[in-house]
Structure formats: structure tokens, C-alpha cells
């Protein structure tokens, strides 16, 4: 068994402000290059490319924090298969409040159906895909069966595919895309709860779980 280059818990530690400035010039360049790779790569960076040195990890977390971002593991929490970046939870709330980065209704509708079929359904059967982008694809015909007009589905899928939110393969089918790996645990839980609410809006247990979560973390949009 190989040891991951970075401890999965390393980025859970409080951000050490100014950790970046403690590095020498060459190490600063390395950390900036790594951050840019995490930000720009369509797919998560392999775990082997992450630094094991705690000083570099602290510097990476520091500059991510300054840009309103956090470094998140992809895949099983104890043994991530890769790493990527996401918006920090407080920043996500502010962006939502400012109506920035919100998908148009047609795209949201199609993405919701894709997540219901690819993530919520298998999760209910005890086969939760982790990460979501590793979910088994569904055939495009299943979207058409959801009574969404094709005139909505085709352009929405094209835009969602470009944004990396779904992978729309002509032969392989439709599945969640790598951009959905750019979520913190709290953000993913919000989406999962929202999906639960959609799947069983009248279930009293689910309603109680959602209400409790709303009390804890603010409104779900």
C-alpha cells in the first residue's frame, strides 16, 4: 500500500496567516504553481503531486484562503485519490447572497435530475459514488423520460458540459462532471440534503433532518 504524499487531515487545520511569506522565493514559486494547477486543472491533481512538507501545506492553505478558496480532497476521506480547490464555505454564502455564479434555471433543472439519477438513487441503494464524478452514467433517454422538454435539455447539457458540471458522452451517457468534485464536505452535504428533500418532500424524518441542518448552517438555496 502506498502512503499518500499529504496527510488528508492537513488542510483541516486552522489557516496560518502569513505562512506563505515564511518561504523562500523558489518555494513561493512552487506553491503558487501548485495552487494555479489546483485552480485551473479540469481534473483533480493526483495525490502524489501534493507536497508532504507541512510548511508547504500551510503556505498552500494560506494563499488559497486569501483567494477565498480551500484545498479539498477528492474521493474517500481517509485515502483521497486526488486534490482540488473549492470556494470556502463563508465565501459561498456571500456569493449566493450576491447572486454571483448561480446557474440559469434550465441548467439547474437538468443538473438536479442528473444528480438525482446518478447520485441520490445509487446512494439510496447503499452505493454512494465517491467522488460524484465517478458515478455510473445514465443514458440520455432517461432525462427525456423526466418530462423536461428536449429544447431545454440539449442546450443546458452543452453548457453544463463546458462548465465541467456534467460529462455528456455521446456513447457513454451523462454523469456528474469533475467540477462537482470542487465542493467542501459541508457544501456536498447541503446538496445531498436538498436532493433528499426533492426525492421525498413529505417524509417526516427527512423534513426534520433538513430543518435541523437549516438551523445549524443557514438557509439552503
Amino acid at each position: 500500500m502506498t502512503t499518500p504524499a499529504v496527510d488528508p487531515a492537513a488542510f483541516d487545520a486552522p489557516v496560518r496567516s502569513g505562512a506563505f511569506e515564511l518561504l523562500g522565493v523558489a518555494d513561493r514559486d512552487r506553491v503558487l504553481a501548485l495552487f494555479a494547477a489546483l485552480e485551473q486543472s479540469r481534473l483533480p491533481l493526483p495525490a502524489a503531486e501534493m507536497p508532504g512538507d507541512p510548511v508547504m501545506v500551510a503556505a498552500l492553505a494560506d494563499i488559497a484562503h486569501r483567494a477565498g478558496r480551500v484545498v479539498v480532497p477528492v474521493g474517500p476521506a481517509t485515502a483521497p485519490t486526488g486534490w482540488t480547490t473549492a470556494y470556502a464555505n463563508d465565501i459561498t454564502d456571500s456569493l449566493l447572497a450576491a447572486d454571483i455564479g448561480i446557474l440559469p434555471p434550465e441548467q439547474r433543472m437538468v443538473l438536479t435530475v442528473v444528480l438525482l439519477l446518478c447520485v441520490a438513487e445509487p446512494t439510496a441503494r447503499g452505493q454512494r459514488p465517491d467522488p460524484w464524478s465517478a458515478a455510473r452514467p445514465i443514458q440520455r433517454a432517461r432525462l427525456n423520460a423526466c418530462q423536461i422538454p428536449d429544447s431545454h435539455i440539449t442546450p443546458a447539457l452543452a453548457q453544463l458540459h463546458l462548465a465541467g458540471l456534467v460529462v455528456n458522452g455521446r456513447k457513454s451517457g451523462v454523469r456528474p462532471g469533475p467540477a462537482l468534485d470542487r465542493l467542501t464536505v459541508a457544501q456536498r452535504s447541503r446538496v445531498e440534503l436538498a436532493l433528499l428533500g426533492l426525492a421525498a418532500p413529505d417524509d417526516p424524518v427527512i423534513r426534520r433532518i433538513i430543518a435541523r441542518n437549516n438551523d445549524r448552517s443557514g438557509a439552503i438555496r
Binding site: F20, A33, R42, R66, A67, G68, A88, D90
Partner: protein, 208 residues
């Protein structure tokens, strides 16, 4: 008093008098939110540049006026990521797959000059010029891939296609480099990219 999380809005704050949430962020000098908003929405009021100066100084973001002359700035994380490893590897795009790499290379070849210090903003060209340069036949599978790659680049803000990205992307569609290219920096932009552009320009001269 409970700690106010960074980036949240306090309506009793003087910043609340500002017009939009981004204006408020400028008043509050909230660089985290402005940087994140730029990533999510792409464009910020010009005054954001001042708040983001600290991030720009450490190379975390770049600020560039967009090439429509609008009073806005566009920012993105500095992308000093990947060296040009071979003829088709273009900076941070090495990880995005061959189709988009080829389209980006084509856009750079027709829009950027090896004599300029930076490829951005470059000059305006057309989809047809890229297709011709890359020797892709009209309506071939390669042509479809090129158009798909250009659309993907437009979604990333790496190219701009015409005024409204016309359907079908005919050969006459105008192409210019997108403002995200302004964020490229580092040795591969300074040294390797001009060399690559010069080599291709020399090769084209020989062929023509």
C-alpha cells in the same frame, strides 16, 4: 459580539450604503470575496484592482483591462504552471486534453506575435485562419474538434469569439485572445512561447 465571518454582509455597516455587493466588498476591502467573485463571475468594478493589489503583489492574481475598452478589470489566478513540454503543450492547458490544446495553440499562433512581450491582447483573427494554419479540412472531424475546442476556450475566458459566439462558428467568426490569457506569466510565457511562435512563423514562411 459574535465574530462576523469574512465576506458576509452587515447592513448596519457604512459599506451597506454602497450600490452592489461587490461595491460593498470594495469598501470593506474584502479581497477574499472579490477574488472569489471574479473567479465565479469574471468581471469586477475597476476599483477592485486597488483592493486586490496585495494579492497581485504576491502573484496570486493578475489584473487586466479587457479588450472592449469597458471600464472593468478581469482577474484570475496567475498561471505560471506548466512548461511547454513539446510542440503542442501550451502552459496550463497541458492538463486539459489534446483538443483544447490544439485549439489554443491555433488561437495563439494567429493572434499573438513572437515580438510582443506578452501574447495578450494580441490581434484579432478568424476561425478560418486557425483552420488554415492547422491544415484542417473544412467539415472534417478535425474541423468539428477545432470548433468544440474554441467554444470550450471561450467558456474559460481564454478566447473571445465574435461579438456573440455565432452558432456553427463559420470561418469568418472573429477570434481574439480572452482576458484570462492576461493572467499567464512565468518563464514559459517569457521564453518558451515566443520561441514556439517564432519557429512556427519561420516554418510557415518556408511552406509559403
Amino acid at each position: 459580539m459574535a465574530e462576523q465571518p469574512v465576506g458576509s454582509w452587515d447592513w448596519d455597516d457604512p459599506a451597506a450604503a454602497a450600490a452592489t455587493p461587490l461595491d460593498k466588498a470594495i469598501v470593506r476591502r474584502d479581497a477574499r470575496l472579490l477574488a472569489a467573485a471574479a473567479r465565479a463571475g469574471g468581471r469586477l468594478p475597476a476599483a477592485s484592482g486597488d483592493v486586490l493589489a496585495g494579492l497581485r503583489d504576491i502573484g496570486l492574481v493578475a489584473v487586466a483591462a479587457n479588450n472592449h475598452g469597458r471600464p472593468t478589470v478581469v482577474i484570475g489566478p496567475a498561471a505560471d504552471v506548466r512548461l511547454v513540454a513539446d510542440g503542442e503543450d501550451v502552459g496550463p492547458l497541458t492538463m486539459r486534453g489534446p483538443r483544447i490544446r490544439r485549439a489554443m495553440l491555433g488561437a495563439l499562433l494567429v493572434c499573438a506575435s513572437p515580438n510582443d512581450p506578452h501574447p495578450y491582447p494580441g490581434r484579432t483573427s478568424t476561425v478560418g485562419a486557425i483552420r488554415t494554419l492547422l491544415r484542417i479540412r473544412h467539415d472534417s472531424p478535425g474541423h468539428v474538434h477545432l470548433k468544440g475546442g474554441l467554444r470550450e476556450l471561450a467558456a474559460y475566458g481564454l478566447v473571445e469569439l465574435g461579438d456573440d459566439e455565432p452558432a456553427g462558428l463559420p470561418d469568418t467568426t472573429m477570434v481574439r485572445l480572452g482576458a484570462q490569457v492576461a493572467t499567464w506569466n512565468g518563464p514559459w510565457v517569457r521564453d518558451d512561447l515566443p520561441l514556439l511562435l517564432r519557429q512556427v512563423a519561420d516554418a510557415c514562411e518556408v511552406i509559403l
